[in-house]
């Protein structure tokens, strides 16, 4: 006798422990197999692009903090790069080094959260996550020393950074640089060749090279497919052309590759911070920029490689103190374009792993 089955619909989210915020998926299941999936956005939409139209150019920086809230340093920087491009502002040498140090530390901190929550989704419930939060704490302490904040730093300014580092910063940074590789080695020993991880993540949720490029994927999701595309290399901003580092790529574009790319990127970021901390010169930290910036009428697109991918700001100025239009390119939103294609056909427990391997932040998706 054959059993008759019929598809049924379940709602995952918006409040669900593995949706990384307030994301909702309408999943149609046939037994355990996913036959259709519809992502539903907007639960964290705050209208940041509209709010930006009524603020001064410096007043927008705190809004950018709230995009990808686990990586606010890079959001700040992406916005400031666009304003500098628009208004033709130069940045002093010391500020450039501070920007690079902060961005790379931020990348490590954000990847620690991404990898930690990925293991949560794989079923290693909270032990790896707490290990990684222990290390992230060290970096957050450094940020607190400089900015007084632990999550939303509001640190970069058009033409430099908001304040200089205190004198105890560089010794503390050296201490972190000494210990961080040991921590990463520890993760590698515990997790890299774990058999359960292989079973859950290898060959699961494959994104092909062609599709990744076509959907506009960026960051570890794109590089996990084997595409060597990193804005720091292909279109160097700030002073990234002065540092030596590699761009790690995956081979087949599965969940395991995306996890590997993140771990390898942390090692590369440490290399960059090490070089920058050695070379950092004395000098001013901000160029002479007026309180109210009035860029000439025009348009500019500034972008950079954030932990999740290419963050970009498209600014249109009409010559006044507020931008006429401020559009934000959110890498997480683009990466999610292929979500349905990658998940349909897999089982519901794989859905969690595949979705977790994207490491999206809802603040950025909904804006």
């Amino acid at each position: 006798m054959t059993l008759r089955t019929e598809p049924f619909v379940i709602n995952m989210g918006p409040v669900h422990p593995s949706t990384h915020g307030v994301f909702r998926m309408r999943v149609t299941l046939d037994g355990e197999v996913v036959v259709n999936l519809e992502p539903i956005f907007g639960y964290l939409h705050r209208g940041i692009e509209k709010l930006a139209e009524e603020r001064t150019y410096t007043g927008i920086i705190p809004l950018t903090d709230r995009l990808d809230y686990v990586a606010s340093m890079t959001n700040n920087l992406a916005y400031c790069l666009s304003v500098e491009k628009l208004a033709g502002i130069t940045v002093p040498e010391r500020a450039e080094y501070l920007r690079v140090i902060m961005s790379e530390l931020q990348r490590i901190a954000a990847h620690l959260i991404s990898v930690g929550s990925f293991f949560n989704d794989c079923g290693a419930y909270f032990t790896p996550f707490l290990y990684m939060f222990r290390e992230r704490e060290r970096i957050v302490d450094l940020f607190e020393m400089v900015t007084g904040q632990r999550l939303l730093y509001n640190y970069m300014r058009p033409g430099g950074v908001s304040q200089d580092i205190p004198e105890e910063f560089l010794p503390a940074l050296q201490e972190v640089l000494k210990q961080m590789p040991l921590y990463i080695d520890e993760y590698e020993r515990l997790l890299k060749d774990n058999e359960i991880l292989y079973a859950r993540a290898r060959g699961v949720g494959i994104l092909t090279k062609e599709m990744a490029v076509n959907i506009g994927a960026s960051g570890p999701v794109l590089r996990g497919c084997g595409v060597k595309w990193d804005i720091r290399k292909v279109d160097p901003y700030s002073i990234y052309d002065r540092f030596e580092f590699d761009v790690p790529v995956g081979t087949q574009g599965d969940c395991y590759d995306r996890y590997r790319v993140r771990i390898e990127e942390m090692k590369q970021s440490l290399r960059i911070v090490e070089q920058a901390a050695k070379q950092i010169p004395d000098g001013p930290i901000r160029s002479d920029v007026p309180q109210l910036i009035r860029p000439p009428a025009g348009e500019a697109y500034g972008h950079l490689e954030a932990p999740t991918g290419e963050v970009g700001f498209y600014l249109v100025s009409d010559g006044s103190i507020a931008p006429y239009r401020c559009h934000i390119r959110a890498p997480s939103l683009m990466n999610l374009t292929a979500l349905r294609d990658m998940i349909v056909g897999w089982k519901v427990q794989d859905l969690i792993v595949i979705f977790g391997s994207f490491a999206i932040t809802m603040g950025e998706v909904d804006r």
Binding site: F41, K50, M211, D235, G312, Y314
Partner: protein
């Protein structure tokens, strides 16, 4: 370094292929007639030497008399970039051809422009609101949206 291609030259090249398609080519961007947008985009994507395989962003700006829609294209093969613009007139029911058939990265972005600016994209497989709820009235990113 990603080189931005010289828009006037590319403008001439497009004009030679599709007569009347280019309205103007400034230093930074090529302004394309909305009627031939899809043909021009397909040409930019599939012509050897141009190979724009990666669509970075689409955005729309409200200038009251018209909406300007801006496409940022990148070629990963040659590492060069180009900005294409088009204008759509009218506030009641502005509409443009969708480029989702060429670059799927346009999928969510065109939905977002529809949601917030109210421009419909013909040929989009799933043209509905993305961040606001279906019953929402109006398009808040427009400059004349009343609070």
């Amino acid at each position: 370094m990603t080189t931005s291609l010289k828009a006037p030259e590319i403008g001439k090249q497009i004009q030679a292929q599709f007569a009347g398609a280019v309205i103007e080519a400034t230093d930074t961007a090529v302004m394309v007639d909305s009627k031939s947008l899809l043909n021009v985009m397909a040409y930019l994507k599939n012509t050897a030497g141009l190979d724009f395989d990666y669509m970075t962003t689409i955005t729309a700006v409200d200038y009251f008399q018209y909406f300007e829609v801006i496409y940022n294209l990148v070629s990963m093969v040659h590492n060069h970039s180009l900005t294409i613009k088009t204008r759509v007139y009218g506030r009641e029911n502005p509409s443009l051809p969708s480029v989702v058939s060429l670059w799927r990265s346009a999928d969510h972005q065109e939905r977002e422009i529809y949601d917030l600016m109210g421009i419909t994209f013909e040929g989009h497989p799933n043209m509905k609101r993305i961040v606001l709820w279906p019953e929402f009235k109006g398009h808040p990113q427009r400059k004349d949206y009343l609070r």
